[in-house]
């Protein structure tokens, strides 16, 4: 029950958009979340797997079987669409039983299996109702039951939670995970919500301009992003261009930072990543000079309930802070172990005036 993309490329006719050189494997029972900005190709990836687009090059394998040229209905994949795509003219159980009907399952059996599937998502008592009488979250669960009732080879989720309001979305994440774990099948989950990807994915694939730029476990992706693009897209980030002055020392717009520079030669350019929640806010400047402490002025201060998100202007630079302290902030300390050096952004202009 695994899914594999081998060197898959696809370009939309008459445009430069598409996906390029995709090599990706989803193991049995694994949930792989794909994130990326809109137009990055994540939905195209799902279309290619579902059979709604045929790659220009490469192969797609499901359970080791080449499905590249199969029609969508021959692939036996369960797809949950962003709009749920429930059939409004059928009752819930008929919706769920539809994949069994087209497979020629006898009516009594398909009704029973549909009712069982609805029971698994907690909607057994609504079996005779019409889809339009349900809330968004309930429709979502019906779509999930319908996609899984025929024991598909893989599950494809196309932004399944984007139409729900925030409060419902969190509950549905757990619900989808529970059902997916129960079915134990390879799952491709396309989303633009990075928090959803990090919380649900066994691994997360980040796409940018039609290419996979990193595939890693959520913690790995957050703590050790491969590039500035990944760091900027996954979570909030302080990203400063810098130059390695000497081993253990990097110069940025803020000033000099002490940190681990292993892997970077003195004189080389780099990009400094610090997550806002790892910045330590200080109420006043410490008496004795300490490394990585910067004095500045709060330019933005946003209270978000559990966290407070503020921007500290330091010289010509800006430090984003996430904290739960509510007192005034006059300075910040950046622990050396919170600093991660990334390869310099090839597209960023080198200003030459870093200090």
């Amino acid at each position: 029950m695994s899914v594999r993309f081998e060197n898959v490329s696809f370009r939309y006719p008459g445009s430069t958009a598409g996906v390029f050189d995709i090599d990706l494997e989803i193991a049995t029972g694994e949930l792989l979340a794909v994130i990326g900005p809109s137009g990055s190709g994540k939905s195209t990836l799902l279309k290619l797997l579902a059979g709604f687009a045929v790659p220009d090059a490469g192969r797609i394998l499901v359970d080791g079987r080449d499905v590249t040229d199969l029609e969508p209905h021959e692939r036996a994949l369960g797809v949950v669409f962003q709009s749920y795509a429930l059939f409004p003219h059928m009752s819930l159980w008929r919706n769920v039983a539809y994949p069994l009907k087209v497979r020629g399952t006898p009516k009594a059996e398909r009704r029973q299996r549909a009712l069982d599937a609805l029971a698994r998502v907690g909607l057994a008592e609504f079996a005779e109702r019409a889809p339009t009488s349900l809330s968004g979250g309930q429709q979502q669960r019906v779509a999930l039951a319908r996609a899984l009732v025929f024991s598909p080879r893989a599950l494809l989720l196309d932004e399944p939670l984007s139409a729900l309001d925030a409060a419902l979305r969190h509950g549905m994440r757990d619900e989808i995970l529970r059902v997916q774990r129960g079915a134990g099948i390879a799952t491709l989950h396309v989303t633009h919500d990075q928090e959803e990807a990090l919380s649900m994915g066994d691994r997360v694939a980040v796409m940018h301009a039609g290419r996979l730029i990193q595939v890693a476990a959520p913690r790995e992706l957050y703590d050790r992003p491969a590039s500035r693009t990944v760091a900027a897209f996954v979570g909030h980030a302080n990203l400063w261009d810098g130059e390695v002055r000497a081993p253990g020392r990097v110069v940025t717009r803020l000033g000099e930072l002490a940190c681990d520079t292993a892997g970077f030669e003195p004189g080389g350019r780099t990009c400094v990543l610090v997550r806002p929640e790892q910045v330590v806010p200080l109420a006043e400047l410490p008496g004795a000079a300490r490394p990585n402490v910067f004095y500045g002025r709060i330019s933005e201060d946003r209270f978000l309930g559990a966290v407070r998100r503020c921007d500290l202007e330091v010289g010509s630079g800006l430090v984003r802070i996430e904290t739960n302290i509510r007192t005034a902030i006059a300075a910040v300390s950046i622990p050396p172990e919170a600093i991660r050096l990334l390869p310099p952004d090839p597209t960023a202009l080198h200003t030459g005036s870093l200090s």
Binding site: L86, P99, V102, L156
Partner: protein, 287 residues
């Protein structure tokens, strides 16, 4: 002085967008046109038919030519709309997938036949498919007998085909908005769930657009039953349909105006029955 809450408060009400007077003023032009161009002529036709205590109805109903006309009209009014609905549905299905711009252009071209009079269409068909028509002569070069090919449009079948020429655009105009608004993700879902493209459309799309299909059928049936210009120009009075029976009553042969009035009323009743039946079926499906 104290006020008791609730006694002095005015009850809330919604403010209509337009007052009663304004609404009546807007309805007036339509009411006048309806009265002058529909109700008045209809009344005079009813009076004409009721002349001589309705003896005209007896004459008409006893006439075998009238009954052959009813049968011909019902056959034509069923087959031509059925063919048109099938073709128009497929055309609309394809148009619905086009970009908005391409759809506007295609729709303009498709609506053109509606602006032609039935007479013009008949002559167009004669010029193209008639005994010395362009297509007939072209097919003759391939060995087809021009007498057979050229004779086709003068048969009831040929007449049905000519009717389809202006019935199909009507079907497209009814179906297109419905198909454009249809959520295509449902078809994608059905296909991913195991239905091939044809089954997916049959199981998912067709039941949902059935009310519009019924409307399109009845609208075109009413048009086909009532039309007479095309029929007269193409087949003269060789084919027995109600509008031509009616025509024969007020032209060459005789001028039995009370009978013509009676036939008009019966023809109108037939069209109303078709449209009414459609509304009934639609209402029952919606319930």
């Amino acid at each position: 002085m104290t006020r008791t809450p609730g006694t002095s408060r005015k009850s809330g009400r919604a403010i209509p967008l337009a007052g009663r007077g304004v609404r009546l003023a807007f309805a007036l032009p339509a009411a006048v046109i309806f009265a002058v161009f529909f109700l008045l002529p209809l009344l005079s036709v009813v009076r004409e038919a009721a002349d001589d205590h309705g003896a005209a109805f007896g004459r008409v109903l006893a006439d075998p030519v009238f009954w052959r006309g009813v049968r011909g009209s019902l056959v034509l009014g069923t087959l031509a709309p059925a063919f048109s609905v099938l073709v128009g549905f497929l055309v609309a299905l394809n148009l619905a997938r086009l970009s908005e711009r391409a759809r506007a252009v295609a729709l303009f071209a498709i609506s053109l036949p509606l602006t032609f009079s039935g007479l013009v269409i008949a002559y167009g068909f004669i010029l193209v498919f008639g005994r010395s028509g362009f297509v007939t002569l072209l097919l003759a070069k391939l060995g087809a007998d021009p007498a057979v090919v050229g004779g086709f449009i003068f048969t009831p079948m040929g007449l049905g085909l000519a009717y389809s020429y202006y019935l199909i655009p009507r079907v497209v105009l009814v179906m297109l908005p419905v198909l454009t608004n249809f959520d295509r993700a449902q078809i994608a879902a059905a296909r991913s769930l195991g239905a091939n493209s044809f089954t997916a459309h049959l199981d998912i799309l067709v039941p949902q657009v059935m009310p519009a299909l019924i409307t399109a059928f009845c609208l075109t049936a009413a048009v086909a039953i009532g039309a007479y210009g095309t029929a007269l120009a193409l087949v003269g009075t060789q084919v027995n349909i109600l509008p031509l029976v009616l025509y024969s009553k007020i032209s060459d042969a005789g001028s039995d105006f009370p009978a013509a009035a009676a036939i008009s009323l019966l023809l109108m009743g037939l069209c109303c029955a078709v449209v009414g039946a459609a509304e009934l079926i639609r209402a029952r499906r919606a319930a």
